[in-house]
Symmetry: C2
Subunit: 386 residues, 2 copies
């Protein structure tokens, strides 16, 4: 049994291989199968209104709270391919179902890669045939197979009391680049109802994946699955389940942030001193998406004026004359005025912590994690498809 | 009399000099004076809630529709400097008023540069003394003195029937970078009421400066003044005035776009096929601010999938299955599906035209002008204050 990842919990097998979708020749297809005895599941998807064909199918598959297998491919998003894209995704779903003796509606599909290219169906058909015969303790290769511009594979394992939760993820941004979808698969041998899984997953994603904002772009393909086999025979409480899914999501979010496209700085933006958490989140997201702020972070430049300019347009209650900013715990701006020594704060490390107080005596608070805007980000994203 | 710029219309003088605020030693202060016989004026300001001290004063000055002089400095924004910043701006306003024998409330103040540094008041005081004695036909030097990271000075002249409208502007983005405020001054020798001027200015800025979006950031200092001397003795109709201010704003917007920070591509984004102009504007702005789209433009990469992913999150009515995209007039995506040859569209030129139809049979339409996201943009903005 694996020591981490999706095949570490009991009741799961996986297979992965190189089908030839990625030009690199690296593994690019994976299949994850829940061997039971239970097949409960939950999932969350991108909020984009333009969604890929596999997202449409996976939404239908999760509707009854049961998913027994998920097929992954990288190198092609199967998004914006019209009716042919829908037909192709459905054919893959049916092929997996037939080979594993499942109902098509118990098979989820996740794709990531370039938008607007038809899937090389010959390669995928042959890949599925082989995947179905290779199922085993292969979570590690599956985690490699879903990578696109990711530099490292991302796996986690959280131990419960007599049960465990494993996971794999890919993506260089959340709700993020069209070419860098975030895909996550969690597996657990805990016994839990679909409702419990859904509750735990939504609570966790709200404060983890949903608040990782690399570049403000929202993918057409983002999907997070949580599959539960019940194979441990242990039924955790809702609270125990919530805690494990949250811990797993936090760890995977950190791994995604650390491997974001062109990242040289990991930046945590916290906003407080406003009326509601939603307002704080809007302000934090506005700052996390501000190109000038992100360039300053790349330059290790404590240019707090850009923080003020950015949050000043946020949809949040604030007192414009009493905003404070802290870089790595040091006050650089108090009451909308710079402090002595503010320009000398050392931001040369890889982790930067930014705290903004909007000057209102309210309970609103939120944290968004982002990265800097670097030359490598521009290079990667101006050269990807050409 | 100048052949272009703010001292081309009758009834205006200007002076400019190097006060030593900019480290470069280039001109950094300017004074524009309306010599009458009329002193009507209008102005628009940044929508940011965090505003610089000079913006607060200029808002008060314009309240009665009369402004006789505007003082400019570059190299220091006098923003986020607390009470001392307000006091400094007021002192400058009073000094100008005293030397020119005006009421302080008839003097506007505009600053641009780094946020959060106190003004070097000694240099500014000496500068004003000299500016007041140097007034003349110096619009060209004034246009230089307001530059920050601008590479070229920006002046325009629009001819009316017996009157004219001149202007100068600076800024590498509209409603834009905290370190690259957009400042514009229009002068006209037409005779027009403050209400006529205000109507003309707001109508023009709505479709010009307000739809130039370089990086989505909103400055603390953006200010556009329109000063009218009546010296021509001609009273244009509202329509004639509107047309001249619109033409002047369009020309200056083009100059600002062409000189934006790190620009290698000038990109016009038009959205139609949605319910209202406001929705179309939201979608156009969402696309114009999308880092992945802007990186693709930098790479001359017709990666239309990023256009779909970006507009899919806009606050606009759309039919997600029937979106079309045109690059330079060529259809690259029809009904949310790529066209044959879409990847071969040539985007190697400096001007790129993007048209997005959101698939709804509605009258909404808007154009936003932006630029690409280049290595130079990152370089300029990671190194500015350090």
């Amino acid at each position: 049994m694996s020591t981490t990842g999706i095949t570490a919990p009991a009741g799961f097998t996986a297979a992965a291989l190189t089908a030839g979708i990625k030009p690199s020749g690296n593994p690019d297809m994976a299949l994850v199968v829940n061997t039971g005895p239970e097949f409960h599941a939950a999932a969350v998807f991108t909020r984009n209104r333009v969604v890929a064909s596999p997202v449409k199918l996976s939404r239908q598959a999760i509707a009854d709270g049961q998913v027994k297998a998920v097929l992954y491919n990288a190198g092609n998003a199967n998004a914006c391919n019209g009716r042919q894209g829908d037909l192709d995704a459905a054919e893959l779903q049916h092929q997996v179902a037939e080979l594993l003796d499942l109902s098509p509606s118990d098979v989820g599909i996740c794709s990531t890669g370039l938008i607007g290219e038809l899937l090389p169906m010959g390669k995928l058909r042959a890949g599925i045939d082989k995947l179905a015969t290779d199922l085993g303790d292969n979570g590690g290769v599956a985690a490699e197979a879903i990578m696109t511009t990711d530099l490292v594979k991302k796996e986690i394992l959280v131990q419960g009391n007599g049960w465990s939760l494993g996971g794999m993820g890919k993506g260089v941004g959340m709700m993020s680049p069209s070419l860098a979808t975030m895909l996550v698969c969690f597996t657990t041998d805990a016994s839990a109802t679909p409702e419990m899984l859904d509750t735990a997953l939504r609570a966790a994603t709200r404060v983890t994946f949903d608040t990782l904002d690399i570049d403000g772009s929202t993918s057409t393909n983002d999907t997070v699955f949580l599959l539960a086999s019940g194979a441990s025979g242990v039924s955790p409480t809702q609270e125990e389940l919530n805690a494990a899914v949250l811990a797993a999501s936090q760890e995977l979010t950190s791994k995604l942030q650390a491997d974001a496209e062109g990242v040289t700085k990991r930046v945590a933006v916290t906003v407080e001193g406003t009326s509601t958490d939603i307002q704080a989140l809007d302000a934090a997201r506005t700052l996390a998406r501000d190109s000038l702020f992100k360039c300053a972070m790349f330059g290790s430049d404590p240019n707090w004026g850009r923080v003020l300019a950015a949050v000043g347009v946020a949809d949040a209650d604030m007192d414009p004359e009493h905003i404070s900013v802290y870089f790595n715990g040091q006050p650089v701006c108090v009451d909308t005025t710079g402090t002595p020594g503010a320009r000398e704060v050392d931001l040369s490390g890889a982790d930067i912590d930014v705290l903004v107080h909007l000057g209102i005596d309210g309970p609103g608070r939120a944290t968004v994690r982002t990265t800097d805007l670097s030359h490598d980000y521009v290079e990667i994203n101006s050269a990807y498809s050409s």
